[in-house]
Symmetry: C2
Subunit: 318 residues, 2 copies
């Protein structure tokens, strides 16, 4: 079975670990969000791709969900001593090496997809990890700060401000001109099922779908497209998805997110059992819906979520 | 008193520490060798400039004479795990930060001299540290390796091969087209004395003098130019200077190095007391010479060497 997953960072990576447990023989292609990429200290940092790679490759810091385990922060400490920031982005020494290799390869002319493949040759994540695009796309957020309207990088909004102010608009800068990375459209076209993990529907899955051609390919693949709600009981399971949902005029409810993706794209939708009342609303919108436990508390629970998503896909396929 | 010092790495840096002790009120400008600069992992590394900066700024690893104290090697370990080398160059985590800042500033358009000034704003070395040139100069060495004639970067010759094969030629690639960095010629013209520390006469001081205009400025400054022999008892005090002296056809003796610089450039020369027999030979070549202890065993001994060099300069000045 060929499964394509459109993944963001922590939530997507953890779901993928469950999917690997649930379908160990499946051929999984991950289309990773690169909208949260950022240039720091002259280095290209791809937080979501790295979170997937480290999580599936056994190098992740399990407690925080991002960054490397057994990490130290000497480089960052020294950069701060030089007065070079930003200090709010937590790059560790081991993590720095990944960005150094990536930046060196990009400077040598390799596209991000080739670089990602080279990095994965070490980590062996057990999936084919593709960036959504080799072109530069960076999500920016319009906010009001100190009485002024400013447009800041998503990472500054998310990490430095911790989404503490309202997002007035979320713009994936460069997305309109971006092309899907080599292999992305082919993987979607060859898929037996497409899954949206409980990743952020705006700045993760939404950004991937904003690359011209990807939404169309998913919609026209003619295979079940099933998503898992990142909203449980009217609040994000983790992260601050409600803040960016508001910016696109979507309520932070499991049903509203399903309608936001739309029946033209989504065939099936899993909501948590606390949101059982939403099932009828989602189905009324033309999307098959089931209520199952959606908390990724451990690998077994996460694998069960993946099983339920695949089961719903089979049910949709009919 | 305005003193200009043409310095390489470890030997030059240690001598400078002695000079600061000997002449605490002097205004010292260091013209640093950049011929051993190398691009590693996409980063610009300036070993000699950094050795001077770290040594005078209190950040040096005292035992090895280069690199940072309290150093760790996580980044390097990770680069090796990615299969990215070279592994023979020992960049530590703290040291990496310096190269990251430098590379980022150069990419932003700052010349190396401005970058060096910015880095020194943190380290406060107590001297004005100028790279010999803002232009790229990289010393290469012609060797016979595995039966083939190869031209390799000086660092590969020095660090990886530990000068274990004969150097057939030493070429400061780019030197002919290089211009002295801003401030270099002005500092020489304004100097009261110019010193050559016991640095490598070929790949350190020799490379600085190979930048068109610098040798001429030193020769024409009209002030005493005094050097300290890096050769004591027919062997280099440290390093492998004899290997590169052979490549330029110079014997590894204190007198031969003085003659190599030449009376047109050098007014005074200090040899070690074990080389007292060389004094007459050097003076016969038209260079004032004294035999004094030249082992930088501790700061007091090094300061005394600097005092002797300044005393010889005054004697030459007459």
């Amino acid at each position: 079975m060929r499964i394509v997953v459109l993944a963001g960072g922590i939530g997507g990576a953890r779901f993928l670990r469950g999917l690997q447990r649930a379908a160990p023989d499946a051929d999984v292609t991950v289309i990773g969000n690169t909208g949260d990429d950022i240039h720091l200290f002259g280095l290209k940092v791809c937080p979501d791709l790295d979170t997937v790679m480290y999580t599936l490759g056994g190098g992740i810091n399990e407690e925080q969900g991002w960054g490397r385990q057994d990490e130290s922060f000497k480089v960052k400490e020294e950069l701060a001593a030089y007065g070079v920031g930003p200090e709010w982005f937590g790059l560790g020494d081991r993590d720095f090496a990944t960005h150094i290799v990536r930046t060196q390869m990009i400077a040598a002319g390799y596209p991000l997809s080739a670089v990602t493949e080279a990095l994965c040759a070490r980590w062996q994540p057990g999936v084919r990890l593709l960036p959504m695009s080799d072109d530069r796309v960076e999500t920016h957020v319009a906010v009001e700060l100190d009485g002024e309207r400013k447009v800041i990088h998503f990472q500054e909004y998310w990490v430095r401000l911790r989404a503490s102010v309202a997002a007035e608009a979320v713009v994936p800068v460069g997305a309109e001109q971006a092309k899907p990375a080599p292999g992305v459209l082919e993987a979607v076209a060859a898929a037996d099922v497409v899954l949206f993990p409980p990743s952020n529907p705006v700045v993760s899955v939404g950004t991937i779908l904003a690359v011209p051609g990807i939404r169309e390919a998913v919609a026209e693949a003619g295979v079940p497209v099933v998503g898992l709600s990142p909203i449980v009981g009217n609040a994000p399971v983790r992260g601050m998805a409600d803040k960016v949902l508001a910016a696109v005029g979507v309520e932070a409810t499991a049903a509203a997110v399903a309608r936001h993706y739309g029946p033209g794209l989504l065939d099936g939708w899993l909501v948590d059992t606390v949101d059982t009342a939403a099932v009828a609303e989602v189905e009324a919108a033309g999307i098959r819906c089931r209520a199952v436990p959606l908390m990724m508390t451990d690998l077994a629970a996460t694998a069960e979520m993946a099983r339920q998503a695949l089961a719903l896909a089979e049910e949709v396929r009919g």
